[in-house]
Symmetry: T
Subunit: 153 residues, 12 copies
């Protein structure tokens, strides 16, 4: 099973800045942890980061073979109907993750445009949010595959 990991805008800066909010781990370190967990729970992951809304939309559209998406839409969480529509269109189950607890921050960060079309949301656990997200994604993708198999058999 393949799972696509998408990091949204400014997450490439992780670890070097605003450590009080986002922690001191770099994106590379988070990706290593994700790869280790992926190996442990036997899934293949593909990792993508972009600051461009359009590129994230493109990437989601091309995710056809994947069993699930783990996405931290970052700033686009609150402003991108395009990413929301892409997720809804592809129908690949998406797990929305956030490093910080978005409900404890500025008012405008409390509203996610992505959440209503995501399978579920995990926020506030730092890098652990991604690991929990990967577990959730694997779990959903498996359930779905099992379901499809039964149907086709």
């Amino acid at each position: 099973m393949k799972i696509l990991i998408i990091h949204g805008p400014n997450l490439n800066l992780l670890g070097s800045r605003e450590k009080d909010i986002y922690g001191s781990k770099t994106l590379a370190e988070i990706n290593s942890k994700l790869k280790a967990l992926a190996k442990e729970i036997c899934v293949n992951i593909m990792i993508f980061q972009s600051n461009h809304e359009g590129e994230i939309v493109d990437t989601i559209q091309k995710a056809k073979g994947y069993g699930a998406i783990v996405i931290n839409p970052a700033a686009y969480t609150h402003t991108s109907v395009a990413i929301r529509d892409a997720i809804a269109a592809t129908k690949i189950p998406a797990v929305e993750v956030h490093l910080s607890n978005i409900y404890g921050r500025e008012e405008f960060r409390h509203k996610s445009l992505i959440a209503p079309v995501a399978a579920g949301q995990i926020s506030g656990f730092g890098p652990e949010s991604y690991l929990l997200g990967l577990r959730a994604a694997a779990c959903i993708a498996n359930a779905k595959r099992g379901h499809s198999k039964k149907k086709t058999s």
Copy 2:
């Protein structure tokens, strides 16, 4: 007379997904219909699709020779001040079209940032929205050209 057709984000997925909302016609099929109608009513059309807000802005900025624009801004309808400003800046009359009836969907889709600077809006008729939009655009562009000719003569 030349008319520019712009398809916004995720419209490249048409026909294969969410058929209950967007119908079963692919974008290629809609484009064929547009070309056929263009021939019938004697206008030249140029067709462009992008998932990137910036590319749509770029394209509108370069539309100088065109008599009118038919645009389905899709997700950017509700979030892009940049596309709105580009349309307002170029002053080429724009016809906003939507496949689905946006007023019968989620609350946040009821508000179009583009509509106040568009010449008019057509929504809810499926692929027919584009054909009606092309007719409207041709009509406006003709009226404008007639008007300009009189002025210069």
Copy 3:
């Protein structure tokens, strides 16, 4: 196929007043154009105008034989739940048209109570809005008839 055209309140004044918003064509001239187009595309049309909300409701209720309705609810667009309910009750597909771009005018004109129960909406093209609306209505009515025939055959 028969299509019902309904002109809402104050549209009987068209052509003689507020030409900057509504243009200089009279309602009679618009009706002539509608009849010409109806002949061209082979549909029968019946035209009705009233300033009374109740009469418009009555008329919609009696539209049983019609394949579609083209309605410019004018002022009642923003205040009439009764017309909305009548359209929803009869289930005859309705095309909402507006001469002016209602999204470029006062705030209270941006919200249509009719739109969510209409098949679609066309606004901003002056008298052309009606002609496009008639085409759209014919198109929907045809599709529906085709669909019914298949079902019954």
Copy 4:
């Protein structure tokens, strides 16, 4: 004792359409039930239906001899200050009834302009709403008459 029953706009269509919301009983059937109950509880009823806000206002104004009004204002529930003012002006106690549970439908149907000047409101029980409403009206009218008699004696 006389009680006036008022059916608002589109209720004349009952039974033939949108049966999932309004049920399959026709207005005639509801009226029969109302007459039967009226006989049983010994009140005289007068029944009126109109799609015209003004006619409903006229009718309420002329209700002077009646002990109470049972009114289903339908669409006018949410838009008619005129009917509200007429009820307040005549001071005849009014019982507001609705077939469907208006609080389980679209947001704009949750707010009744009539309720604050009505004696009470009954909604959601289908045709039974009318029967309960007639009972309530008889009860209020009786209490009032008793009260008046004591006063004058």
Copy 5:
């Protein structure tokens, strides 16, 4: 000079009901006072009352010869875009009057849809509101006529 006086819905009940809000004068008494003042200040007045929004719209549309309109839209003050549009369309200056101080009553009565297109508004002085309104209307109509004469001479 001719001035049209329009009394909106429920004003025919004046004097007999809700005297604490609307006073004890009947509509006939107010009309008498209006006629007396009209004679005094040398204007002709025509008086019209209706509970029907559509009839009021019809009446305003036919007011072509009149120099000004004095209108108490009553309940329609807060709900009728159709009356607003009729006033805006005819361009005859309209003076909006109210018996009660609408700003000291329920929240929904604070907002007038008519006020933005009226020449001015007078509220809270009981029957005196009409007399002041007639004076204001005469004054505006005179100014306008003077202005037109100058233009044409």
Copy 6:
């Protein structure tokens, strides 16, 4: 058939206080009337009062054998998602009743969290609200039972 009657917080004080709003009947008197009507229309009723949200939730959860619930949620009408969820979970049809006309009182009492999941709502008729509510509940429960019988037979 068994029907459960639930009285919410502070209703145990009825009759001794705030008689202008809630009337002078005590809860015991209302319960007597309910029992009399129950006998008359041949249903068994169980009556429960509590000031504790949690106890009301517990009671609803245990209502399995009952054909319907008549509930006056009183203060919890406007604040309890837990009672709403309990009603939705048990799927026993619930009739929401109020002694006073909640739409004629403070703004925050106009919104019922219970109404959208109730079968219907009756408000404003004093103790009569309960009697009408019991009739409505019996009616719904009967219809449901009839429906189930047909299904199972």
Copy 7:
């Protein structure tokens, strides 16, 4: 009978500026007209202008002998609870006047803090607003005096 005329902030600039909104008459000219009308209808007037909220409050507090106040609160219409409270405290009937139609201007000018405690409001008739206001004030003051006399006699 004495009537106090209060001109609020910036009204001392009348006639020399923003003539499109406020007209070309100076405050002195308006005052002359007021004095002439006062003589005609036999009332004494005292005129006061200030840009200071506190001075207007002081002046209202000292108005004890006056039968009525005519006040154009200008900018303080929308921001001064202090002037509102002063009017409410003195209980001298106040007529609120505005030169321009405040309901046809910026949103924040639609709401008057003064109106709910004023006897009535006149807006939109230019300098004529003051003259109508003086008539209204005289009328109210007379009615009140008549009422007091009867009481004391």
Copy 8:
């Protein structure tokens, strides 16, 4: 390390009702899974369910020895400031979990009063939400203990 699991109101009904939203697993089955995972990751868990807001507050107050709390506040998520204050007061890190995706349901379920004081939130993964929540809680509690140890050593 000990972790406290709190199930809010109506969760005792899981598995038997509204399976389309909450799934077919009973609370007992979820608890078994939690116990199995707890054993696997070497933590002790204590499980508590209540429909009473006050009891949940009491339980949180007594959680002193626990390293973390996993709480599904269910209906109280949206209405209980008391539970929020209890969590904030005890300062034991709390993980908020939801079976369903609360952001894809009714508007009033989108706002959590608990989230701003929780460490993080997990929603939408059915029973898996609890298992992810337990992992997250163990992770946070360990980090905290490690941190404390360093401090004290």
Copy 9:
């Protein structure tokens, strides 16, 4: 004279937690101070604390012999219509107190459901708020008793 002191949810934790907001005094220490002041000003006090909304309602209902209530509703300040209704029903004057300045904290704490039915409110003075509240309650209860005595004598 007897005065009832009610401490709402989580106040039993005072002194040990969140000292920056609530200070370092325990509830026992506050109660001691209250008892000392009660002795000094010659009133008897009864003290009650609960985390359960229903228990607080029960307690208020049973307060019949008391001259006044001093209540710190804590979290229930912002969510409990039931406590509000209980206070309104018993008509015993209630003094609402808060340790912290609720107007300097989170937005949702600015609105008290209790305040409109309380005699008055004291907030922000730490434990001193209770002492001032007891003085205020004694003062009100005395005034009331004096008033009653005069009446009965």
Copy 10:
């Protein structure tokens, strides 16, 4: 220790007007009571009243030697950012007092701009509010002085 008492606009009218809201005590009587209490609790007070926002700001700015301020901002409570900023700037602890229960009056009086920068607020106890406010102010000023002394010693 010196404490500054500030009475806002219209409070100089106390006792002679609107006695149902503000009571029958004059400002002089309240001041006498304040002086008596000041003597009793051994503080010096300075009393100031003004209807001018600017003068109140000036007075607060010059309060440097004072240990605390007791202020009834009256109408300026709801409109004056300037007074708020003056209090915040001087950092002298301020106790906000109100004669009436502002939370039981008009909506616009529920919001205090002063409260977030005040030490605390007391409202609803009539003249007693001032006396409680003086006690609170003395208490805070003492605590502060004690704190400063310790620091400097």
Copy 11:
């Protein structure tokens, strides 16, 4: 060329208080810097400070000879329609300056009533805001003078 500098309420306290928000420079120091820059760029400046809204209005009204105004309205930024109207009335271009970044502070400071009638706004640069404001004002005044000269020559 003459430029008027207006400092609003509480700015006379600068330098001694709340240095974290407003910096440690006194108003005198800022004024010195302004005078130095004025000399350098060859403009005459007049400096005025007041805590009184009315005095600021008076001063703006008397600014006739000035080419531009630099105004820091401080607290009145958010509450004074009177200052807004004075600026609009005099038509002297005004530059609004703020020491702090008002968009990074409390919600109510985000809205300026002055900004829509100012030429432009500069905020957030501490004393530098004034210097930039003076440059901007000189620039606008020069442009205007050049424009006027051309016109008159």
Copy 12:
């Protein structure tokens, strides 16, 4: 010292279109003026324009060596959380500039998502906004450098 100048979407069209709002200067002319001023005040500037939100984010992320950023986010001012987050992440002080007075335009342009994380904002002075912005940026960057030097020395 190096300063980065960022021009947002559609600013490349400056000078040729919508001159009434944005003036007749081209972007090239503004850039020339910026370079001239940069030379005069001895700073190096780098200039960048893009219509793509993602490219602007990328550019801000790479600005590490720069002392300050001058950014006109144009349309993205109101919609881009990504640019806001990029500025907050890099911590390079940013000066937000606008050619037009955004507070005098459409409602949706009054709210800047960038302003709360910018050092300050300058709007309304046409091309002069950029020059003032460059001065402000140089000033802030110098202050910061001086501050850093002191720290490190």
